[in-house]
Amino acid sequence: MAKFPSVAWFDAVRDIYNKDDAMHGAGSGTCNCVVGVQVGRELFRLTFEGFECSQAEMITKAQLDDCDFYLHMAAKDWRTMLQNIQEHGHATDNFTLNTLDLGRVEGLSASTHNDQYREDLFFRYNQTLQFFFDGSARIQTTF
């Protein structure tokens, strides 16, 4: 059981993602990017290298600059998304990363640098990122 958000929670999901070959094929595969995750005021950084998510760590707001892009939502919205994943085994309908990005007025993916090449990694690696968060269905999450 891991509490969201925390490094321990991301580590538990990383472990599932790193070990499951099914998450590394069928349009997924190697992924090289640094993703920020903003949950309310708490900030985390996920490093994807090749077939692994190699690191999850807490960061400061200034360190968001190092992220290619970051996913930002209020804590209650993250909770709703993760509960949807828990319920169905994967994100459905209004809770996929793509739909959240399109459906929310403020979007889901953002950056501090406005470098479109780095921002577009959200779309280029969308399947991998979805697989990663869908992996949370396999752990018990508390909030």
Binding site: A26, G27, T30, G50, L102, Q116, Y117, F123, Q127
Partner: protein, 366 residues
């Protein structure tokens, strides 16, 4: 390391007859063996494997601004003199280069998918007829776009100098992506009791097919008009997907498009940085392209089909469906303006046809 013993295993010694032994075989000269422009190169694989970009070391990493060699000589090899030139017209780096091309090539290879087996086709279920017909119509138009993409890109590939093989190789993956897109949407149209619908209007397609002045200008239309719009449309279709089959297709196609768009935007950025005078032809292409796109959008077929998909049927198409359709257009315009800002292209929403302007749209349609 392979030994002579290993070699014997894979290539058995020849048993020659007496007559064969009497045939006079010229002594090998082996004079080609010391002819290398650079020897002793040893590229070591990194944590991403042995990538195409990592081979760009020493002489082999020299990518000149101009490649006058109109042959198929691989970059770094010694050319043969007297070879008749092939039809290579794009010999300047500024006309095709994007610094990310080698990385995008690797990414395309790594992140490949197969519609036949990676999509759980058996999970599809019957849909109301109006929705099924609408989805099939959208699939038909996306298939047509894919065919155009293949034709446009391949018509330029053979004109590109081999000195810039990273771009040629990446573009080869984009034509595969487009054929896979055609395959996936054709399968979706035919898997659930439906079929193919109307061929769409083709003003933008004609513009792309007839664009022969330059690859950069073709990329401008192909990426900033056709691909960016299709990408946004597919993301909206994903948002309103009716089953996991469609969702999987849309997710994978989004990624495929993202690579093509990244190449296109980064190429235009490179071209503008090294040849600022290209801005004029890029802006002209955009202006013509938007006029064509405006004409295509006057055709109601795609608009109505999308509205039905977004509105959950004919009943919902008139209000909610059309609202989502226009929201989708607004999202496309925003993506386009963001890209233009990134490229420092002076394009504003007021320059676009009224259908793309939220507050002018109503007057344009009346």
């Amino acid at each position: 390391m392979a030994t002579a013993k290993d070699a014997d295993r894979v290539r058995p010694a020849l048993t020659l007859t007496k007559e064969e032994l009497e045939v006079e075989v010229p002594e090998p000269r082996l004079n080609w063996m010391n002819q290398w422009r650079e020897w002793g190169v040893r590229v070591r694989p990194g944590n991403k494997g042995l990538t195409l970009g990592s081979l760009n070391v020493g002489l082999y990493g020299e990518i000149p601004m101009n490649w006058p060699d109109r042959s198929r000589n691989p970059r770094g090899a010694i050319g043969v003199t007297g070879t008749p030139p092939v039809a290579i017209q794009i010999k300047d780096k500024v006309d095709l280069w994007a610094p990310c091309a080698a990385d995008l090539y690797e990414e395309a290879i790594q992140r490949r998918w197969a519609p036949a087996t990676d999509v759980d086709w058996k999970a599809i279920h019957p849909l109301p007829e109006d929705i099924e017909r609408a989805i099939c119509q959208v699939c038909t138009e996306i298939c047509q776009y894919a065919i155009i993409d293949v034709e446009v890109i391949t018509s330029w590939q053979h004109q590109m100098a081999y000195g810039y093989h990273e771009v040629k190789q990446f573009l080869a993956t984009t034509t595969l992506d487009a054929t896979r897109r055609h395959e996936a949407f054709r399968k979706r149209a035919l898997v659930n009791g439906g079929g193919l619908g109307y061929e769409g209007p083709c003003q933008v397609s004609r513009l792309l097919l007839e664009s022969s002045g330059g690859w950069t200008e073709t990329v401008t239309g192909l990426i900033l008009i056709r691909a960016l719009f299709t990408q946004v449309m597919i993301r909206y279709l994903n948002r309103f997907a009716y089953n996991g089959v469609e969702r999987k297709i849309y997710e994978c196609v989004t990624q495929d498009f993202a690579r093509l768009i990244t190449y296109g935007v980064e190429h235009i950025k490179y071209a503008l940085a090294h040849a600022p005078d290209k801005q004029g032809s890029i802006l002209t292409t955009l202006a013509i392209g938007f006029r064509m796109f405006n004409r295509d959008l006057r055709d109601p077929v795609l608009r109505e089909a999308l509205a039905i998909v977004f509105g959950g049927g004919i009943a919902g198409a008139r209000n909610e469906g059309m609202l989502v359709f226009y929201e989708m257009l607004d999202e496309y315009v925003q993506e386009l303006l963001d890209a233009c800002q990134y490229l420092r292209l002076p394009v504003s929403i007021e320059q676009l046809p009224k259908v793309f302007q939220k507050d002018q749209r109503h007057s344009a349609e009346n």
